[in-house]
Symmetry: C2
Subunit: 350 residues, 2 copies
């Protein structure tokens, strides 16, 4: 196997390209990475040689010296053990919430030539393997989306010293950057809408109460309602799936048959709630007004379409990506949090 021509099966290296272009390895490297002044004619020469040889830089060799991979991971993590048939994926992937996240992140990453790999950590075993994988330097940083707050991933990430950004406020304070929406402000929008519609007997279906986002939506809603003169707002806890939304609604109806308004902590559960209301012979919104949260596809698919609280997810995701890149560029930059304001989207359900 000679130096100046790649073996038939092997891929060409910088060395080969340099040989073909009649320059040194260093010069080819410069052209490829676009640094320092290289004579335009030589640049052209090199480019032709690259095209001719079909050269593709070897990532391993490159990141061995640069300590960069130019890719980041989007990790979706869940505390409990689950298989993929379980509501796990139903909760994250199924929700267009997730698509909007990816979209916002890619919008920032793509132009900068950074690839995004998606990884799952659905149980402890997976999480351990994942941390090992990350520590080995496969990616430069991590954006973590937790489906529940008992999730140890944020802790593991800070421990491992990996550049990371969370998609929500961590349960316990952690020296880690995150992006979140002003949950209670969003809940207040819902409270305002329901009371302005004239709803008198209002209830709420909350998300899992071990999640900060769920807590904030619930307390924010109750506070706003209290300020409007509704001292007590009954609530039932769901887990963000359509099924639990339906069940929660049934339970509420059994206890408070004269309900005329309900705030549901996400659209998927709201979908279930609307179904339950239909089954009980109630009309939405004439008999009971329903407000969801997220403004996901589910909101539009619903009959009637859901009035809902929209989070600027794309912007939030873009901000996460930007924060992460900043941390990668400067590992010493201090943890930052950015909070976004939700808005009310009026459709037909309230």
């Amino acid at each position: 196997m000679s130096k100046d021509r790649p073996a038939p099966g092997a891929s060409p290296t910088l060395e080969h390209v340099a040989k073909v272009a009649g320059v040194s390895r260093a010069t080819v490297s410069r052209v490829i990475n676009g640094i320092r002044n290289v004579d335009p004619q030589i640049q052209e020469l090199v480019r032709q040689a690259v095209a001719q040889t079909g050269y593709v830089p070897n990532q391993a060799a490159r990141s061995l010296v640069t300590r960069r991979t130019n890719s980041v991971a989007l990790v979706v993590s869940e505390a409990e053990h689950r298989t993929f048939d379980d509501p796990f994926l139903g909760r994250i992937f199924t929700d267009p919430f997730f698509g909007r996240l990816v979209s916002g992140i890619m919008g920032v990453l793509r132009p900068r030539g950074v690839a995004m790999v998606l990884m799952l950590a659905e149980n402890d075993q997976a999480r351990t393997q994942l941390i090992g994988y990350l520590k080995q330097g496969h990616v430069d940083g991590v954006i973590a989306v937790s489906a529940s707050s008992a999730d140890p991933l944020p802790g593991l990430l800070t421990e491992a010293g990996l550049p990371a950004v969370l998609s929500q406020r961590p349960v316990s304070p952690l020296p880690i950057s995150y992006v979140d929406a002003a949950q209670s402000a969003g809940a207040k929008l819902a409270a305002d809408r329901l009371t302005e519609r004239g709803c008198r007997r209002v209830a709420t279906i909350s998300g899992p109460l071990d999640m900060p986002a769920s807590q904030d939506r619930l307390s924010g809603f109750r506070d706003a309602m209290a300020r409007r003169g509704h001292a007590y707002v009954p609530s039932v806890e769901g887990n963000f799936t359509q099924e639990t939304g339906e069940r929660a609604m049934k339970q509420l109806l059994a206890e408070y048959p004269d309900l005329d308004g309900v705030f549901v902590a996400n659209d998927l559960m709201a979908l279930g709630a609307v179904l339950a209301l239909h089954d009980s012979g109630r009309r939405v919104p004439e008999d009971v007004a329903v407000i969801g949260f997220d403004d996901s596809n589910a909101a539009v698919m619903s009959r009637p379409p859901l009035t809902t609280i929209r989070q600027p997810l794309e912007d939030m995701a873009a901000e996460m990506a930007r924060l992460l890149l900043k941390h990668i560029d400067d590992p010493d930059s201090p943890p930052t949090s950015v909070i976004f304001e939700p808005t009310l989207v009026v459709r037909e359900s309230a």
Copy 2:
């Protein structure tokens, strides 16, 4: 920066561990990779040194010499340009179809210590970047899921000479391995069920007809119906989303108001079809029987729950993973295809 102690910020290397354990770099490498006979006492010594230093092998250095990354990509690809709000994710991610795929793949990969990264190629730009990324050797192989057949990805993969496995038969014959279900056999199950129920005026809603799977389901259904004495089965094309299923059903009802059975090429569209039937005042299954395909969550969520054709997706996914690993281990192993048999799952809609 001395050789025998890592700089405060830097991570320890093999060299450091070797120093601590009082052995050579090669021996540490042997212990870590578990090869050849190393004296148990020395093994223990090395293991302690690893623990003490918190050593984690550097993936870049490792794969530079081994030419392995121990990770594979699951690529979800789409022909047309789309954003993530579009039905794209609605079609792949939203469908629990996808969760089952991931589950089956991980079942094979995890025990072998191979990581799976998920990548998206939702348009040509993304696809080009993706191919570049793959060629750079970030992963050892690719499992490709195409959402449409105009998708150039399979071609690009074979061209790039990457070990790859497709989740379905490629449109045009390609020297590439794939796993698929016996689509027409599945369609026949649906035809049998509908005719056995006594349905006389049967129609079908197909998937995008540029996809082999859609074609096979349609032609398989028509053939089976013909054999049962139904010479002509009207069909309308959808694109696997709930919305197009609804629209297709409306169109069918307008043309054939006396319909009493319909086979829909996937559950999501079947969901839409059931909605349209409801809207038109028809009962399912009393007035019109509906059979879906996939046996996804949607089938259970539906009212009434859908009778559907189930593909053994987990097994299929596991087989894909196995095929891929085989190709990675032996790049010269010939392309293979494996076909699985679908089954009828009876619920209430037919």
